[in-house]
Symmetry: C2
Subunit: 437 residues, 2 copies
């Protein structure tokens, strides 16, 4: 089959690791990336790269052509409106109705420079809406940068691990935290990075009701919109709809990233959907920091304006075209990303057949969905040591510890860069690893 023989030269790899000075077990995604690049180059080998959560599929030409048209139409010299171009706001409103089945006026749909910016501003508002409520609660494991955002704001953070908190136990833990009176916002993503567990309707309903009761902002990061492939969320105006806390509370800001669902990561654009009630809310505490006491105005004129003055004009046209084509049924985004499901199935099989187990293996009784990420462990090793051993076998990932997980035995695998034709080679490498351990 012409596979590269593993293990690779351990001595050379050890030299590179030592020189880097970074222990693999605690390396960030970017650090891991740099180390593996170096090994690949110096040893002339190719890794199965599972550390990096970047989209591996090209964006649809619908977006590219719309951007090019906007550029040719002389928009590059005109400041975009801080709250987004009407075309995009309208398309978003229609998209929300078609795929999430709720109504929101277009002025509540605001483009941001990636969901990163949407999350940053939402968190900023959540922590300053009420005095003393400047702690953000995270459902872990999660995206480590969200906790960094919290730090930048100078807020506190608290977390609940989904591994041992699901269903009523999760809701009980959330309520306990809310009851302290210190929580301004709760942030989570579902499907979850890195575990790929998906919150049930029952859990979203419970969280939503608690947010309403305690007036805590739900910051729902739908980075993987429509990507729980156990259900087809991609048919406009037809159930099933993408689950969301917005069905159960008026305390939400829902973040819809274009990076994964549309593979549009390079142009840095996402949508923040702000509950109309929140949008109209006034709070004196906001005035001190955002120059206005109105929450919607604070998002746009106290957030988007002083932070970036809006989002690149041409990419707003690109995203508007993708959303509109999805609503019209002209483009089925769930079919496009379903490629990740096929990869996850194949890759998980290669792991599970060779002594590995899933860490987050239980989705409240249901088998876990196949998607962008999964988590694995190998008997008798913690995640750090596992990474250090796998690296000789040409397989790279990140340890779960860096995602805030309490499961120190695990590692996170991202499927996006592994093509279907690479899976036999992954299988051979894991077989060899398993045989030698």
């Amino acid at each position: 089959m012409g596979f590269q023989s593993v293990p690779f030269d351990k001595k050379s790899i050890d030299d590179i690791l030592e020189k880097s000075g970074i222990p693999l077990g605690t390396a960030s995604i970017r650090e891991m990336n740099r180390i593996i690049n170096t090994i690949e180059k110096q040893l002339n080998v190719r890794y199965i790269r599972m550390e990096f959560g970047i989209p591996g599929l090209p964006v649809n030409p619908i977006a590219i052509e719309a951007e090019i048209e906007a550029l040719r139409n002389n928009l590059a010299h005109i400041y975009p409106p801080f709250d987004g171009i009407p075309l995009l706001k309208e398309a978003t409103k229609d998209f929300i109705k078609a795929f999430m089945n709720f109504d929101v006026p277009s002025h509540c749909c605001v483009p941001t420079n990636g969901s990163m910016q949407g999350g940053f501003i939402s968190m900023g508002l959540a922590g300053r809406r009420f005095p003393e409520r400047d702690t953000i609660l995270f459902l872990d494991p999660g995206f480590p940068v969200n906790k960094l955002q919290c730090k930048v704001w100078g807020y506190g953070n608290d977390s609940i691990d989904l591994y041992d908190h699901r269903g009523d136990k999760l809701l009980k833990a959330v309520e306990e935290r809310f009851a302290t009176g210190k929580i301004g916002g709760i942030m989570y993503n579902s499907p979850n990075n890195p575990s790929w567990v998906v919150l049930k309707e029952y859990e979203l309903e419970g969280i939503g009701k608690l947010c309403s009761r305690y007036r805590v902002m739900a910051i729902e990061d739908l980075a993987y919109f429509g990507m729980d492939f156990r259900h087809d969320y991609g048919i406009p105006h037809q159930p099933p709809y993408q689950p969301t806390v917005a069905h159960y509370t008026d305390q939400y800001i829902v973040l819809i990233s274009s990076s994964k669902m549309f593979s549009y990561a390079g142009q840095r654009i996402a949508m923040a959907i702000i509950s109309p009630n929140l949008f109209n809310e006034t709070s004196k505490n906001l005035l001190t920091y955002f120059g206005t006491d109105n929450l919607g105005h604070a998002f746009v004129h106290g957030g988007m304006y002083p932070m970036t003055s809006g989002v690149s004009h041409s990419s707003q046209y690109g995203l508007a075209a993708l959303l509109r084509a999805s609503v019209n049924g002209q483009y089925k985004f769930t079919d496009f990303v379903r490629e990740y499901e096929r990869r996850a199935k194949g890759m998980k099989k290669a792991f599970l057949n060779n002594g590995f187990t899933l860490v987050y293996d239980n989705d409240l009784g249901e088998p876990l969905a196949d998607g962008f990420y999964f988590t694995v462990a190998y008997p008798g090793r913690d995640g750090c040591r596992l990474l250090e051993e796998l690296v000789y076998y040409g397989v790279s990932a990140i340890s779960l510890v860096t995602t805030g997980s309490s499961r120190t035995e695990g590692i996170r695998a991202c499927v996006s860069l592994t093509k279907m034709e690479d899976i036999p080679e992954l299988t051979y490498r894991l077989e060899t690893f398993h045989h030698e351990h």
Copy 2:
């Protein structure tokens, strides 16, 4: 000549103003904009629009074609590096050498989503570099949103008015503030929005030395790079060079906006040039907020990453192409924006011939340059009342009060939306105004 007769219908205008509920004298740029749009539409009239500082010229096709090529080359699905693409960083380094005559390594040149983001992050770092130094000092009048940025960070602000502080008096005032030990950064733009005064080399040198002595960060916003048209700063590798505090201190972050100099406002991209010494500096206080004690790392991984994860991939190629073409002498950006000088000359003449005077009229003994903005007053009226009267005569601007100026008699005029062929109509309107007052 077919000019629209002025004054316009006062009754209708009064009705619109009353309905808006916003007193013109304190209206922000955006509010003024909305009111004038309404009047234009309802009365079917056209204003000489001087309220809005937006570029009135189209961006050069060099940028557009480079963006389109990047989009066609499949970059839209790939996350841009948080610290910018090497092509852009290298072009910036060369641009700095060619037009500002100083050396900076390319890793210190970081693209941001507009200078707005560069200023926001710089200010964030300036206020947290040292404990207790969380006040930003502004040279006023200035861009009001910079003060809003300060609020968002939760910092204090202080200011010195350039109207009565120039030369040694300015430096003395700056030193007095620095000596309090509370100032983390000093922020200014030169040429100055709105007064169009330009800091002299002598003043920049003094500020630079004070920044070094007191370790205060100089945040120099060169929004109008090369646009002091009394000098030709647009010939690569030849004096005169764009003046900058970077010649006099290692405590600088210089912000180079593409919005005005290249008319590239729509794509939200600028460059932050971070002093290599600052870039390498470590400070324990930064660690608490930005996840790293290194200032350069804090800018990129504690700022750009958690706020927007970088800048739109295609616009990085667009800006790189403009910078490279400028360095190569293929594109002379100062000739392009010199159009604003011609407009300013004509428009100022129309004002000065009809009883108006310049407010900021003295550039330390030199006559003021003609550029993007100027400031005027009319005898016996404060700026608010002047705006309210001019609005009947089809002329819109903003009051100087909203820019932090102590000169309550003045208004700010931006030349960018008034074409050369509109100047006779402006002249007729001001003549009529003057005649009737």
